[in-house]
């Protein structure tokens, strides 16, 4: 493989920008534009950028994940938030929120919807990367 210095350098920087924006979108969700799904797609795009500019094998050595487990974990987290409201006698998927005062961040809204979104995030990251790597490995 050719050593493409400018691409590698740019990717190293860009991936961090994309990833932090992805996290921002995940946390901004449900009151503002954003959410688990869009954040996950952005995360996946960052990882795909790594796959393209480096090499599928190299990145696989660094990120040793088994993506089907992502799907299972995410689904269980997302369903779990729905079930947790049932345990307290509310209808399925009822959401709760509270305002907490944290040292640096100030007034923060904590919601159960965020947990649901994190579940969605994990599922979508798992599905997208699973699809993309499966197709990429398909040598013709």
């Amino acid at each position: 493989m050719k050593n493409n210095v400018s691409l590698h350098t740019m990717t190293r920087i860009a991936v961090f920008i994309i990833l932090s924006f992805a996290i921002y979108l995940l946390l901004a969700g449900h009151n503002n534009p954003g959410g688990g799904f869009i954040g996950a797609l952005m995360t996946a795009s960052a990882v795909v950028l790594l796959y393209i500019s480096f090499d599928l094998k190299t990145i696989k050595n660094v990120l040793e994940f088994y993506f089907p487990y992502f799907i299972g974990t995410g689904l269980i987290i997302a369903i779990g938030t729905g079930i947790s409201s049932m345990i307290f006698g509310y209808p399925f998927l009822t959401q709760f929120f509270t305002h907490a005062h944290l040292p640096i961040l100030g007034d923060v809204e904590l919601t159960t919807a965020l947990v649901f979104d994190i579940g969605v995030y994990i599922v979508v990251v798992g599905v997208t990367l699973l699809i993309i790597t499966t197709i990429a490995e398909d040598d013709v």
């Binding site: 799907i71 689904l75 209808p91 399925f92 998927l93």
Partner: protein
């Protein structure tokens, strides 16, 4: 409010997700799957009892504590809960047949996960009271079915499942378009609210157009004439257990949605919409049975019988009286059971003889009497010979159609029944009667009996439904009365 209503689709969903982690441990997978299937079935019985005993004979849940019509409601009325019960029963039986027949490689590649995701979609579609949510559950069902139908990927299977995917994608796109149109006109997606508003708008012009788009969508999923062409070959590819599951559940979801939307929402202009449904019902029966008669392949014949029976199931909706719809509901219940039994037996025969061509078989009755008579009972029930369940379904459909003066469809139904009898007896005579051929049997007696153990409950249910037609009809008549009085449904959901 009753959180019980989420269990029929939540339980399979959780288990499906958990099974992803155990994909490579097939014994553990089987244990978890089997226990879940049993739990789901037992719970559906309990839920049916609860709905039947509740004062309105209907329970509902406003998901997320959002009031209807703004949030999503789940509604368990008598029809939907009966469908959930049957789906859980069919799912359980298919699971146990699957344990014996599904190849271990398929099990390792998430067969059980997708099996349960399919049940999630099916049960969710039965229970939801929101049109867009119905679309979502349709998609859950379809995506799982895409996986199951192409699972194991032989060349033929992949080619035909491609058609299946394309056809269903097109239908889903139209579904979305139709939902959007309806939302643009009425400003709501809640089915109860839609029923209310469409009645206010006096179903004319554009709403009739939307009704026909819905008919197209559900017709494509439920395999109505002329939209069934994708079904025969794509169902032929996968193993018997998946075909049985699809034949029993997928087309029924389409038919259930058709019955739901055309009794609750598009009920103002039956002279137009329901006449079209009646014509399609007749055509579906005829072309289905003609397809069955043209084939010599046992699995193909039974697949074409799915299409033919769809005609009967939708006939009651076309006639549009309480008795006729009761007949349709009874027929759907009966067909779910019998169709699965027939696919199982066909699967056993194909495994046993190594061929699917009925002309090459013969004389199986002498060696496998239990198999033969099980097939005979299931086939006679399908055709409608008393005292089996098919007879009472057809009887009530035909009596109510005569009562409404729909003589043409009665004639068609009777002629088609006769042809059904011919096509089923042709299988029986070719496979079980006659001289024994020089086929070497691939299964031992114990294996055949082991597989038959999953067929016996189905045969028992079809006999029980026939002998217990009186109480069964009390139930389905009450369900049909609910459907014919949509104001009751609307009042419960939107007090």
């Amino acid at each position: 409010m009753s959180n019980l209503l989420v269990v029929p689709f939540l339980l399979p969903m959780v288990v499906g997700a958990v099974l992803i982690f155990f994909a490579k441990h097939h014994r553990l997978q089987r244990i978890i799957a089997g226990l879940t299937g049993i739990a789901l079935f037992v719970f559906s019985i309990y839920l049916t009892y609860r709905v039947y005993q509740s004062p309105e004979q209907m329970i509902h849940l406003e998901v997320g504590d959002w009031r209807a019509p703004f949030g999503i409601v789940l509604v368990g009325d008598m029809l939907s809960i009966l469908m959930v019960l049957m789906a859980s029963f069919v799912g359980l039986v298919c699971l146990f047949y699957g344990f014996k027949t599904i190849h271990i490689e398929r099990e390792r590649y998430y067969f059980y996960s997708f099996f349960f995701f399919l049940l999630t979609g099916v049960n969710g579609a039965f229970l939801t009271g929101d049109l867009f949510n119905l679309f979502v559950f349709f998609e859950v069902t379809l995506i799982s079915s895409y996986v199951l139908i192409s699972h194991g990927g032989k060349k033929f299977q992949l080619r035909e499942s491609f058609k299946y995917v394309v056809m269903n994608m097109v239908a889903s796109a139209f579904f979305l378009v139709a939902v959007a149109y309806l939302y643009a006109i009425t400003g709501t997606l809640n089915m109860a609210d839609l029923g209310d508003r469409v009645a206010m708008l006096d179903q004319q012009g554009i709403i009739n157009v939307i009704a026909i788009i819905f008919l197209f969508v559900f017709g494509a999923k439920g395999a109505l004439f002329p939209l069934y062409y994708w079904l025969p070959k794509s169902y032929y590819g996968p193993p018997a257990v998946i075909t049985a599951l699809f034949g029993a559940l997928l087309t029924k979801v389409g038919l259930y949605s058709l019955i739901r939307t055309f009794t609750l929402i598009f009920n103002q202009n039956p002279a137009f919409t329901h006449t079209i449904i009646l014509v399609l019902a007749g055509a579906t029966m005829i072309f289905g049975v003609l397809g069955a008669l043209s084939k010599f392949d046992i699995k193909s014949i039974i697949i074409y019988q799915i299409i033919s029976q769809v005609g009967f199931m939708i006939m009651g909706l076309g006639v549009f009286s309480a008795d006729a719809i009761a007949g349709s509901i009874y027929y759907i219940t009966h067909d779910m059971v019998v169709k699965v039994a027939l696919f199982f037996i066909a699967g056993i025969i194909i495994q046993l003889t190594g061929t699917a061509d009925i002309r090459k078989m013969g004389g199986l009755l002498k060696k496998y009497p239990l198999l033969g008579w099980s097939f005979f009972i299931a086939a006679m029930s399908l055709v409608g010979i008393p005292p089996l369940s098919g007879f009472f379904g057809k009887f009530s459909l035909i009596v109510s159609s005569v009562g409404e003066g729909q003589y043409v469809i009665v004639g068609v139904a009777l002629v088609v029944s006769l042809l059904n009898l011919f096509s089923m007896l042709r299988i029986f005579m070719n496979v079980f009667w006659g001289e024994e051929t020089d086929i070497t049997f691939a299964l031992s007696n114990e294996q055949v009996n082991g597989l038959l153990r999953t067929v016996i409950p189905l045969i028992a249910v079809t006999i029980a439904l026939g002998l217990g037609a009186e109480p069964a009809f009390q139930y389905v008549s009450a369900a049909a009365d609910q459907l014919m009085n949509p104001t009751h449904y609307i009042d419960v959901i939107l007090p």
